[in-house]
Symmetry: D3
Subunit: 179 residues, 6 copies
Amino acid sequence: MRKREASALLIGRFQPFHNGHLEVVKAISKECDRMIVGIGSAQLSHTFENPFTAGERHLMMSRAFHDEGLENYFMVPIVDVNRYAIWVAHVASLVPPFQYVYTNNPLTRRLFEEAGYEVRQAPMFNRSEYSGSEVRRRIVNGEHWEHLVPRGVAETIHEVKGDERLQEIMKDHSPEATI
Amino acid sequence: MRKREASALLIGRFQPFHNGHLEVVKAISKECDRMIVGIGSAQLSHTFENPFTAGERHLMMSRAFHDEGLENYFMVPIVDVNRYAIWVAHVASLVPPFQYVYTNNPLTRRLFEEAGYEVRQAPMFNRSEYSGSEVRRRIVNGEHWEHLVPRGVAETIHEVKGDERLQEIMKDHSPEATI
Amino acid sequence: MRKREASALLIGRFQPFHNGHLEVVKAISKECDRMIVGIGSAQLSHTFENPFTAGERHLMMSRAFHDEGLENYFMVPIVDVNRYAIWVAHVASLVPPFQYVYTNNPLTRRLFEEAGYEVRQAPMFNRSEYSGSEVRRRIVNGEHWEHLVPRGVAETIHEVKGDERLQEIMKDHSPEATI
Amino acid sequence: MRKREASALLIGRFQPFHNGHLEVVKAISKECDRMIVGIGSAQLSHTFENPFTAGERHLMMSRAFHDEGLENYFMVPIVDVNRYAIWVAHVASLVPPFQYVYTNNPLTRRLFEEAGYEVRQAPMFNRSEYSGSEVRRRIVNGEHWEHLVPRGVAETIHEVKGDERLQEIMKDHSPEATI
Amino acid sequence: MRKREASALLIGRFQPFHNGHLEVVKAISKECDRMIVGIGSAQLSHTFENPFTAGERHLMMSRAFHDEGLENYFMVPIVDVNRYAIWVAHVASLVPPFQYVYTNNPLTRRLFEEAGYEVRQAPMFNRSEYSGSEVRRRIVNGEHWEHLVPRGVAETIHEVKGDERLQEIMKDHSPEATI
Amino acid sequence: MRKREASALLIGRFQPFHNGHLEVVKAISKECDRMIVGIGSAQLSHTFENPFTAGERHLMMSRAFHDEGLENYFMVPIVDVNRYAIWVAHVASLVPPFQYVYTNNPLTRRLFEEAGYEVRQAPMFNRSEYSGSEVRRRIVNGEHWEHLVPRGVAETIHEVKGDERLQEIMKDHSPEATI
């Protein structure tokens, strides 16, 4: 009989996945049998806050995980429901069964605790050095950014021309008003 | 044959229902046979602006009404549709038939008037003393707040641990970004 | 301190509420402090299967409850989400806290049990005599139907001209195709 | 000052627009200053029942109208809302103001009458000869069909390869199950 | 055989359509056989930013086009999808086939280019003189505004009492909170 | 520089994943560098046609793939959009970039071809022996079914008590009607 695996859930937007995220993932992977990585706000893309599609983020992260030798993970896009009272049930139906949740976000902690899950403190990383918004700012301004993300992430961004896309849309105009 | 009742509609978010709301409800209840109380933005909860679920608000208010001896009312959760041109039809399909609407909100007035309803000025209450945001601010800061709301409301908030929830989520982080 | 009430949940479409429903409600009301009656498929109306709006059903039932002297109940419209894995969370956020659920529907039983609720067998009534579809069939065919429903229900149907509506739409054409 | 125009609303799916529809349109156009033609179920396409997109139907009909010298019309796609109690408000917000509605569909008649509009009987056409499903059946079976529709409709169907599309999808499999 | 027409797409919110918009439309109409004018954010109305319904905007613009002798156009309401990765497919399914897109909005440009469409620079107009927000501001403040829009637009706004509506709702309160 | 991988897309509902599916997956995996497996109708569960959640299906399949030594795959839940004209864009935004699609479904073929993708014939398997509905029928009737699915699938179904769930809900009643 297959051994019941201890699965941990971790959710982020990963716009893009950076070295700080990688440190967290590596630390958690040592504390569980399987990790479920939720790609949050999966429906968003093509804005300054959320430039990359869920599929592009999936590819970035799977390359980074592969290069690190990480294997026991599930990666699952999670679209927003904009209704917090059903958010945990929404997540739980989309991902494989899990036993605990890693988060430092107080609302996430609260929602999973109200639903009866065990919530653990996510490992810390250097937030002043690594942040998605800093990576995006550097891409927009044409500064160096590749050293802040795993190699597979940088390759993916170049491959899908994500840097060029981000530079063009940085003003974040709504597409509904084209005149 | 049953007498045709004069029903009045009043809609609010009631986050939470406070003594000012109660004054309004009591005044209107004297001017109609039946009052329909719409619990607006019913899909929202677990944020600083909207901490309580529609069900929790329903319970708070029904206790407050019971303690006041108010009986002839309907309480109906109304989820947002985010499209004002159909909002009146949305409300009208969810609540029992009504003859007039009490409101001091100019957009609400306009929408119901364009749809042909009679709109009346809602009774005034002391807005500097009573407001939902002030109650929430006091809960977050650990100040006294129970005297601003009916007894049944305070009991419900304690019962569902709503004060603790509000303190934890006051930063109002999105749950989509848990790293 | 307010005594913690034992609340029971019962959900139906009530198209329309009939004497069989009333028997069930009366039986359950003796076994709990408060009953929560969910008006299911609240978004539907104007079809043969679902002729009455949620608001009309709300009015019918509150009149029937009033005439029976039933007082300790909450009535809550529940719109469909068409996604069973989140249905219990959806319901639970809209209604006041409840301790057990009455149902004879196997899927409803399963969903609430998977979510950890206590589920009880709903009291039986004479299904060969009382059914919503039979009431609707009789209305369409111009046969007697008023004796199958509580007086307040019949009054409401006449008041909103629900019998006439049902007769007109019995063919249940889609309004999208008007030519 | 611009003369107030008498506008009539007519809604159909027009899958595709055929000679029977054209007869109706021509008859109504003589009884009003402006006609509003709603393209119903605008979100549907690529099935046997609804093979053509709203945009393709728009093009077909505007060519047919142009060839007939019809000028005073608005053409507006109407997506389904699947909730009849708000359907009239939905339509009314998308189309220019109108005074009456032409329909032979009892539900459409009922909904617009409940909302206070004047509803008129749509002109008759030969339903045994002209019907959308017959045109689609003939396309699927490779029989003659062009004589049943206006010339601009046939041209458009050929141009967008709609006949080929219909033949391929006639089994109407769901795209969700591709294995 | 019908000549294949070169169709251009132009999308705006047109709240309201003003003389600057008209200049753009007239310039584009000379460069193509048919113009498709998308009425963006079609679901919005009754706010300061978006006071007019899609149907009212449709009427305004068709009057303005008629007075200018513009004939070869399609006017299509486009509701927002709030998900940019599918926005082009959404638009393309609602409007007739088109060959190129006119826009000065960088995100719109990017989205249509990623989908393989030819995107052209929209003609310029005097933005300091003509803007929707300036027209709305003047209406709210009771200043002159009619000279900034085509005659048919002003007539329509007066006819639907749009100026009065805008003055009443200028505070843009949410209708969900009516107490 | 990372080699550009040839990625193939395959979508199914996998209710549940059976030995026929596994044959197809193994055959395709030899023809591409990476396979993207879309879990279709991801929002559905708890019905006879769709008993398992997307998360449960994800777990079943990843166990089956692991036991077969399959490694180069992405697994992505795809919720239905019920609007075929935008379905390909919806899928493409959720999954990593792909070059071709394997399918035997004519509508899927048509939709991806209209969007410009290369579509290939999916490998055949013995449909009379292996089918999701046959597996579900056997589970409901208490017959042998484990030999029709990979070992990891059977283990998962037992682990989540999916067989018991299917037996209880086989009548597929709507949960909206619990009386």
